[in-house]
Amino acid sequence: MLDAIIAHYNYWLVIFLMMIGLYIVISRGNLVKKIVGLNIFQTSVFLLYITLGKVNGGTAPILTDKPETFSNPLPHVLILTAIVVGVATTALGFALVVRIRESYGSIEEDDILATERAEDEIAVNEALS
Amino acid sequence: MVHIVGLGASLFGFWLLMSGHFGPLLISLGVASVVLVLYIAHRMDLYDRETFPVHLKGWIFGYWGWLAKEIFKANIDVAKIVLAPSLPISPRMVRVKATQKTDLGMVIFANSITLTPGTVAVDIEGDEIIVHALSQELADGVLNGDMDGRVTALEER
């Protein structure tokens, strides 16, 4: 049992990162921290794919003259792509946070929700009157 | 003009060193790359003595040899302090007069101070460098003016 756990340490790490990331996304009210959590969550995927590409005895897939056992190069291409996607998401996320801050004056979810609710109430009152 | 040519030449040397391929395609790409970098450097307004210190010529290697020796000695000293159970330190701040005339010389001096463990150049105020030292002996290594003199000499050759 313990052996199995240790043998799959990489998966445990993936799961650990995933859980941490998700937890941050869900539990934090700070919009920036949420994005950070999202990043950690995505990192778990990179790790998973690296794990996938690891063939026993193989190394990074860079072409040399020597014939060798290579790790499967595909996952690395995939990770690179996933990282680009992740970076783009993060950049866009922060861009939104910046604009939210400029508009609402806060990056705390609670404050923003309170502001929005207050606006809603005003709108409803106007509608009723 | 001297600076441009010097920078260009050293950049191209740098390219050849790294590339290791001397086919027409990569050589021409190398030339194009150097030209592009020179153009950008021009736009960044980097063409002056600092960008390519041509005036230092070969003397710098002599200085580096001396500096390597100093770094080596200082490393041993600080390693001893760190490993000694009693942790025999007596940290202090000292002001060191820098006699260099150019910014580049000043920077070489400051970085040399930092490179030798036991002393760190914390700030430059006018012609003085403020140095944090781990002990009086280590501070004296800078305060004795030897390093300052060598850097100034380097600058004047």
């Binding site: 996304v25 969550f41 995927v45 595909l74 996933a82 866009l92 | -």
Partner: protein
């Protein structure tokens, strides 16, 4: 021409992809729009050609860079995705003529280049997800479309700053969904060593008991569930649709979730196959209850909305419930309903959100109080809302009826009587929220201080009415759509056994 015809599959994606950066180079307001319009029409033409070609001579496979699958990326077109491609590009082709005035009104004029760039990228992503035969490529295109969708939604901030928080929430949940999906794909890849969907399908069959396959299945379903706003993972949707610019809402509401549904179908039926035990369990224990909850909670929430865009957004949650329900039925009639509703719902929501965009153009915010008495002043717009609303309810002779008809047949085929009754009952909720608007518009008294309101310009009315007419045309002559949808359903279920 033969040069082109051989390459249509890649042109479907590559042309919008190339035009997106081109678009960002264009200045002014008119040029970016024109380019987007031209590209949309081109994509529409291509997708028609593809559908014809597929119907005539079977599946098309196109290999990127001449790497044969499973090593290279393959674009694979069959009836299923040809139909979805047609929906996406068709909606885009109708939405863009409408877009010019609406976007000019709602989006900062200095940002039109960016806006249409994002729009084209979104279109590219959606088309790409649909056409590609590579699981990882799906993820990449999915994120291209999602990222540009966030940008498009945030463009609504000029009208209401909540577009920002809406886009942010969508970004967080959408990213979590995409990440779940890509984890699932990774797990499948780990076990099978392939990312090609056709290849995956072959290799997964003998591995039904593998735990990584099961985990991969779960990750993919949950991930795509988030992307398609399956109840209760729909929380991002209402605000996103409400605060996005009207054109964006029209386009996204009609296409984005549909494409995610397509991906779910693809994995459920093509990759795992209906025979895979987990698929059946998913139908019965996950999709069925969630779909029914979505139908009722979505519609009930819609009834209580005062913002009309949000009202129809909640209605979308309910309608996605119908779509998922069709999957849950797991038989030909049910799947036919799902596929049909992809198209039909695109028609109704496209029309409804277009109409709301017309209203927004004239009076700004679209609240139930704001539209009181507008029926007389904007007769064409509100007649369109009434027509598409009837379709949403599912009145016979509209497309909504056809979808529900097949849905009910599917339920009855499984002898799920209560489900059939619930489908009918949920339509009644739609009556309530649609009629709320009709009543306010036609029999309400205009709020004080609102001056005379002009009817929306013809440029916007024409696409709107095209959609409305389509709602009725395909509701009365449903032969074309039902035969394609039926074929799609048969292909899916046939691939299982």
């Amino acid at each position: 021409m033969s040069l082109l015809s051989e390459h249509i599959p890649v042109l479907q994606v590559a042309v919008p992809l190339l035009s997106a950066p081109l678009c960002s180079l264009l200045r002014g307001v008119r040029l970016p729009w024109l380019l987007a319009l031209a590209v949309s029409w081109f994509a529409f033409a291509i997708s028609i050609l593809l559908l014809i070609q597929v119907m005539d001579s079977g599946d098309i496979s196109y290999h990127m860079g001449n790497w044969a699958p499973p090593f290279g990326i393959e674009y694979r077109v069959d009836v299923i995705n040809a139909f979805v491609l047609l929906i996406i590009s068709g909606i885009s082709a109708v939405a863009l003529p409408y877009a010019r005035l609406s976007v000019a009104h709602e989006v900062d004029p200095r940002r039109h280049g960016q806006f249409y760039t994002a729009y084209l990228l979104c279109l590219t992503g959606l088309l790409g997800v649909t056409i590609t035969g590579d699981a990882f490529n799906i993820f990449v295109f999915l994120e291209i479309s999602s990222l540009s969708a966030y940008v498009l939604i945030a463009a609504g901030a000029r009208q209401d700053r909540r577009a920002l928080t809406a886009a942010y929430n969508y970004l967080v949940l959408g990213t979590v969904g995409a990440t779940f999906f890509v984890i699932g794909v990774g797990l499948l890849y780990m076990v099978t060593g392939t990312l090609n969907i056709a290849d995956l399908a072959e290799r997964i069959r003998p591995l039904a008991d593998n735990r990584a396959v099961q985990a991969g299945f779960a990750f993919i379903i949950i991930g795509m569930g988030l992307k398609l706003a399956m109840f209760p993972m729909h929380t991002w949707l209402p605000n996103a649709y409400t605060y996005a610019p009207s054109t964006v809402t029209v386009f996204l509401a009609s296409t984005a979730t549909k494409v995610s549904v397509y991906v779910v179908l693809r994995f459920l039926f093509t990759v795992f196959g209906p025979a895979y035990g987990f698929v059946g369990l998913t139908f019965e224990y996950i999709f069925l209850p969630l779909a029914i909850l979505a139908m009722f909670i979505g519609s009930t929430a819609a009834i209580y909305q005062t913002n009309l865009k949000r009202l129809f957004a909640y209605s979308s949650v309910a309608q996605l419930g119908y779509i998922v329900l069709g999957i849950a039925l797991g038989n030909i009639a049910g799947l036919t309903a799902t596929v049909l509703h992809l198209f039909n719902h695109a028609l109704m929501k496209g029309a409804l959100f277009m109409a709301l965009g017309c209203v927004a153009l004239r009076i700004g915010a679209v609240s139930i109080n704001g539209v009181r008495g507008l029926g007389r002043e904007m007769p064409w717009t509100f007649a369109a809302i009434a027509g598409a609303g009837l379709s949403l309810i599912g009145v016979p002779s509209t497309v909504g009826f056809i979808s529900k008809w097949y849905l009910i047949l599917g339920a009855l085929e499984n002898s799920w009587w209560p489900v059939a009754l619930l489908i009918v009952a949920s339509s009644l909720l739609a009556v309530i929220y649609v009629w709320k608007i009709i009543e306010a518009a036609y029999f309400g008294v205009a709020p004080e201080g609102r001056g005379p309101v002009a009817e929306a310009p013809l440029e916007m009315l024409a696409p709107l009415w095209l959609m409305v007419v389509a709602n009725f045309y395909f509701g009365i002559d449903a032969d074309l759509t039902t035969s394609v949808a039926g074929k799609v359903a048969a292909t899916f279920l046939g691939s299982g056994s």
